[in-house]
Amino acid sequence: MVDAGLLDAIVQGLITGSIIAGGALGLSLIYNIAEVPNFAHGDMITIGAYLALVFNNPAEIPFLPAFGSAPLPAAAIVGVVLAGALGAAYELTIFRKFRQKDADIITMVIVSLGLALVLRNVVLFLVGSKNIRYESASVSNTNFDFLVTGAGMTVRTTQRQAGDVVTTGLWGYPWWLLAGGLILATAVGYGVFRAYRREEGFDTVYLVPPKILGTAVAIATAIVLGALIQLAPQGTDPIVATRIGLSIKHLTIVGVVLAAMFALNVALKTTKFGRAMRATADNMDLAEVRGVDADRVQLLVWVIASMLAALAGVLTGWFATNLTPNMGFTLLLPIFAAVILGGISSPYGAVAGAMIIGVSMDVSVYLLPSHFATYRIAVAFLILIGVLMIKPEGLWGDV
């Protein structure tokens, strides 16, 4: 048996990070453009999760007639759209009014706290506190064993089917292939990086920062090569071995969040309204002078952020299997930590911050004696505090 090791902890951390990132994306929008440190964001996540539940598994909710259930993806979409409408409501009834009164940042914080109280308890009121789950197809976990042998590396995939552990795949990469593949991937990534980067010396703004693009391309190339060129197994007597567990669920979560991040970034950087949103974040009065309807921008910010929060809620509920009225609030601290860590002003920063927080949470749980498992959230905080002491504006500032 191969044990799950540090690599698995890192992978788990990336998935945790994705969940946090889902929340961080929305929060960074509100924090940056609406200038509200939104303490209700966790509960907006909860509301989104439960909205999807209404359509997916209504039987679980008291006093709702059981009107059949929709598959989770469809229910999620409906839930996200409804959450967007709620977001508009929050802006129109609450935050716009306070903005018109020129409320300061502290007032906004406490207003959002009030909203958080209301949202959380509305869920509690309507649904009660028992654990509820989504009605969705169960997904099986595949374990990837990586065995480093004298001849190279062997990869074995196993799954649990009908109670037994079944080997579903076995292949390997000899050393020369490993080395060649890694060099090729790095070269491709570097090439993309150089080609994409413009003149040196100026602070220019890119759609996707060249370093990130280069790294992403390198990793993608390595994975593609690994998937395409699978040779015979290189022996099963490992010098060193590790295991990571992955499922479609994990990949979907990471994929959805990355897609959302990319879509948001494209919207902000290339569309006219996206520019207006960034301009409003930069200097709201000047934006008005240039013809931007700041009220419309803020409305859209709240709608998009609520939709992103709802998406994060559905993913969290799906991942954690259970939904509870507190599920969003427990994520609130790591999400804030991620946004502040990554610098408020960019979606990439928020996601990067979230990944760092997620990985450090799960790696620390792995490294520390099991007794310390409950300190997961504390780790996120210690990292945030540490970073803030060195760089009070966050790691990235502007990406």
Partner: protein
């Protein structure tokens, strides 16, 4: 018909009234300056056109249309453009993006006008993709002015365009403003540097304590004994 006509304007901030019964006119293609001591209300008068102040009484007409009390972002789409004294660009966005934001109130990006602006300020073309906040003070003023020109306004409102510029850049700035005016855009300018402003403009207004004090062709005001003593240092 004048491009901009202010009649009997009372305005201020919140409960504080700054302007009392102010009158001002800018004709088509005219170059008009507002000068006066600190606290006279010059910037307030300009900001009132854009709806950035608390409107109390009077009328503000743009091309004959009453715009007093209208939302800022609506006013901007009616033919007036404004370059604030400070905080006048989006420092986190590139030069090019700033210029594109200048044209926000238009349906499509006016490529020809963008071309004109870049031609008029060549350094901006060179540094299009640079983050605006990292440019020098003079260059930032150019960006701010370029933005305002993107909509080809009927009247361009400039709030102390020479503020904070080195002396040789000040002359450059005034030359550029002359050029813009020669091309047909009316100019309404608030200036601390009264001598230079009055020398170049068509007409000027002197505001004192929020009220009209003097008015007339620029050269006349420049040579007027009283005006010289009180505001131009004799």
């Amino acid at each position: 018909m004048s491009v901009l006509e202010i009649r009997g304007l009372d305005a201020g901030y919140g409960d504080l009234q700054i302007l009392t019964d102010v009158d001002m006119t800018v004709g088509e293609g005219e170059y008009v300056t507002i000068v006066g001591p600190n606290g006279a209300g010059k910037s307030t008068a300009m900001k009132s056109v854009l709806g950035l102040t608390t409107y109390m009484d009077g009328s503000i007409a743009l091309n004959g249309e009453d715009i007093a009390g209208t939302d800022t972002n609506t006013v901007v789409s009616k033919g007036v453009s404004y370059v604030p004294q400070s905080d006048n660009l989006f420092s986190t966005m590139t030069v090019r993006e700033n210029l594109l934001m200048g044209a926000y109130s238009l349906e499509e990006v006016p490529e020809d006008r963008l071309r004109e602006v870049l031609d008029r300020f060549p350094i901006l073309e060179e540094r299009q993709m640079q983050r605006a906040g990292t440019m020098s003070g003079g260059q930032q003023q150019m960006i701010a002015m370029g933005c305002a020109l993107m909509v080809d306004p009927d009247v361009l409102l400039l709030d102390e365009p020479s503020a904070g510029l080195a002396p040789d850049l000040v002359v450059d700035m005034f030359d550029k403003i002359d050029e813009i005016n020669d091309a047909g855009t009316a100019i309404l300018m608030v200036e601390q540097n009264a001598k230079e402003a009055l020398r170049r403009c068509d007409r000027g207004y002197v505001l004192v304590n929020g009220e009209n004090a003097y008015e007339g062709p620029g050269t006349e005001l420049l040579n007027d004994q009283e005006v010289r003593e009180r505001f131009l240092g004799g």
